[in-house]
């Protein structure tokens, strides 16, 4: 957690991070004034979100981290251009475009599936992340089922076309409104709606093909009852 306070007295009004907690709005205001420490506070708040989006778009941990950091750098340089949108949706817009640019640079090479990541220690770190984020109250068998389901979902997401993938990640995973997603991807509202529908349909078909959809459905129902 960052702490902010005024350092020194008299004319020295530089904001430091020692005394008071700063919320996102204060950090943003300080960062707009060129305070890199304040901006790095925003980075710490949002880096998992930006990296998750980039990783699910690109499929490679290092490339995703590079794209996310590049997006943060771009955000830092254009902080004064935020108008109306929240920092979260504005950042996701930059990350989405950075990832789409990266994928275009790779000539639309298919993303790496999470299913084949068990051999590589660097990529296994993400599988570990999935395990860490699992509910600690559930037993080992339930945790394994959950991990299998997530891998199946991630694999199906990775098979979507990049435009659909970016749209479904923004709308369903990161809960942006249709209008926000349309602004982020610079497309019409109707395009977002149809991309979301096609992506959901494709994911349903993919999970059905893997036999995971009924398990998912049962799990969601049991969670709802609990």
């Amino acid at each position: 957690m960052l702490y902010a306070g005024k350092e020194g007295g008299g004319g020295n009004r530089r904001i430091g991070y020692h005394c008071l907690p700063m919320d996102e709005k204060q950090l943003l205001q300080a960062a707009r004034g060129g305070d890199l420490d304040a901006f790095n506070g925003l980075v710490r708040m949002h880096q998992s979100r930006a990296y998750s989006f980039a990783y699910r778009m690109i499929g490679e941990p290092e490339a995703a981290a590079d794209a996310a950091q590049q997006a943060f750098l771009s955000a830092y340089r254009h902080l004064k251009e935020i108008r109306g949108d929240s920092f979260r949706s504005w950042l996701l817009r930059i990350v989405a475009n950075a990832c789409l640019d990266e994928l275009r640079r790779r000539k639309r090479r298919p993303a790496v599936s999470l299913e084949g990541m068990t051999g590589d220690p660097e990529e296994d770190r993400d599988a570990d992340t999935l395990a860490i984020l699992a509910d600690p109250a559930e037993g080992p068998e339930a945790a394994a089922v959950r991990a299998d389901l997530r891998r199946a979902i991630e694999d199906c997401i990775a098979q979507l076309p990049p435009d659909q993938r970016a749209t479904i990640l923004l709308v369903d995973v990161h809960a942006l409104e249709y209008a926000e997603a349309a602004r982020a991807l610079r497309v019409a509202l109707g395009t977002v709606k149809s991309r979301v529908a096609r992506a959901r349909g494709d994911l349903r078909d993919c999970l059905n093909q893997k036999g995971e959809l009924p398990r998912l459905s049962r799990r969601l129902k049991s969670e709802a009852k609990a």
């Binding site: 790095n40 990296y51 981290a65 997530r150 995973v173 349909g201």
Partner: protein, 250 residues
């Protein structure tokens, strides 16, 4: 490869929009009526709901390294520029080439290589050239000249110019005459004696001073010019090669 979704993408879009609460009006009512009586459609809606809820429950992933920006990355610390960047070397090469060409030109000029060409190419007015080519007799009025020739038996062709010299036969500009036009004050009648005429009439043919022509004189170079040429030429080549090598390495 994911198999394509059912052949009715419009229905899928309506179901997806209904799920998100963005279907309104008559379209929403029509879909709800259809859902009441169509079990397969209800099942499809449930599957889409499952997909959406699953996606929403996906966890955030921790990045493999902190994504915070260092002052150097953010550009708040001025980056030290390389002293010998390819761009600087290329500029140096271009300047050395320019200096070489300038010195070489001046050197050739000081050796007289351009003098003949400059003299040939110097601009001379066409009218002046034509006038210079005419003999003095023709400069006077043709009738007066012929009368004088008759009267003197062809021995005199008119008064001698005070300042002789080919190419300088011009009437005085102070009389207002055009160049090449002899001024004959009140004379020129056909039956007047030519000698009297010559006494009375003062033909003023004054040589006009030659107009000043622009002269371009370049400074002569000292004897060290060949060394300067060699220095600048070699510098241009070496700097150019270094720039190309550095650019290729980067």
């Amino acid at each position: 490869m994911i198999p394509r979704t059912p052949p009715d993408p419009r229905l899928l879009e309506s179901l997806s929009a209904y799920l998100d609460g963005s279907l309104e009006g008559a379209e929403r009512d029509a879909l709800e009526r259809r859902l009441e009586r169509d079990e397969a459609l209800r099942r499809e809606l449930e599957e889409l709901r499952t997909i959406r809820e699953t996606l929403r429950s996906l966890p955030e992933l921790a990045p493999p390294r902190p994504l915070t920006l260092s002052p150097a990355q953010a550009g708040t610390v001025p980056r030290r520029r390389a002293a010998f960047s390819p761009r600087r070397l290329a500029w140096g090469s271009a300047l050395a080439s320019l200096a070489f060409v300038t010195v070489a030109f001046l050197d050739l000029n000081s050796r007289g290589a351009f003098r003949h060409a400059a003299a040939t190419l110097a601009p001379v007015p066409m009218a002046l050239q034509a006038f210079e080519a005419r003999p003095p007799d023709e400069i006077m009025q043709p009738e007066a000249a012929s009368e004088k020739a008759d009267a003197s038996g062809g021995g005199r062709a008119g008064s001698e110019p005070t300042e002789a010299g080919p190419g300088s036969w011009e009437s005085s500009a102070t009389n207002g005459g055009a160049p090449g036009e002899a001024q004959t004050d009140g004379c020129g009648g056909g039956d007047i004696n030519a000698d009297q005429d010559m006494e009375r009439c003062e033909v003023q043919i004054v040589a006009e001073p030659e107009p000043e022509r622009p002269s371009f004189s370049l400074p002569d170079l000292p004897d060290a010019a060949p060394y300067l040429e060699a220095f600048f030429g070699l510098s241009a080549v070496l700097l150019g090669v270094c720039a190309a090598v550095l650019r290729r390495r980067r």
